[in-house]
Symmetry: C2
Subunit: 146 residues, 2 copies
């Protein structure tokens, strides 16, 4: 079995002073622009992006973390956390889709660093993706949602 | 800006005849096993895996698809679909966590090919990830949930 694979960046995240603070712009590269066709039929989308600032050996060797942004969180395994330092620095967020214009997706609520590369977009389908009664430990109830 | 990045596989999905059909086993490689610490505090997890059977130039050039498993679906952009053929063949599923034993995660409801490489695991946090009222087009209501 191979031990890895290659990602192609399909776009880049831009935060702009001309936009409200909660709004981000995902600039999808021209060759992938047709991939956005009918995405506007969805109110929410899943954004997969690359945590490029953590793409180095030290951050990618992390296996245990203390989620300090969540008050009272214990030490946990990296896969039990949303830590940005992880073996594959994949960022993931479910956000509100505002509009699409000229290969740019405008979304609300994406808390990612400027210039983060976009690696995938998928539609959010509540029937498949919504589990309001899922159990999570108490420390996830405080602090940021991610 | 770089145009790509490298993924490391952190485990592999195994379906086994000794398990019920709806149950899959995620074998996490030894060096990442500590990353599972306290994951059992969550009832549901997000599994990110690699659609290794689609990792070739033809499948990764797909920008428009017809989601045929969903009756009546129109042609849509690949990012408005859950198509397995996409620029980065990242599989994503939210599944029920059954138990963890010896670096193996047992989950229910993961519809992925045997031997798919695992690339990330994140906890499912309903406060951040559940949007039961999200809008999606009618074709997503029939057919498989993914």
């Amino acid at each position: 079995m191979r031990r890895g694979a290659t990602l192609k960046f399909v776009g880049v995240l831009r935060r702009s002073r001309s936009l409200p603070r909660s709004v981000s712009e995902l600039d999808i590269f021209k060759e992938y622009c047709q991939g956005l066709y009918k995405l506007e039929d969805f109110s929410h989308i899943m954004v997969f992006y690359w945590l490029h600032l953590r793409d180095n050996q030290a951050h990618r060797s992390t296996v245990r973390v203390i989620p300090r942004r969540h008050h009272g969180a214990p030490e946990v395994g990296v896969f039990a956390s949303r830590s940005l330092s992880r073996p594959n620095p994949i960022g993931f967020s479910i956000v509100e889709l505002l509009k699409i214009e000229n290969c740019k997706i405008f979304v609300r609520g994406l808390d990612a660093a400027n210039s983060s590369p976009v690696i995938d977009i998928k539609p959010y389908i509540p029937r498949a993706n919504s589990f309001p009664d899922a159990r999570a430990p108490e420390w996830t109830l405080s602090g940021p949602r991610t």
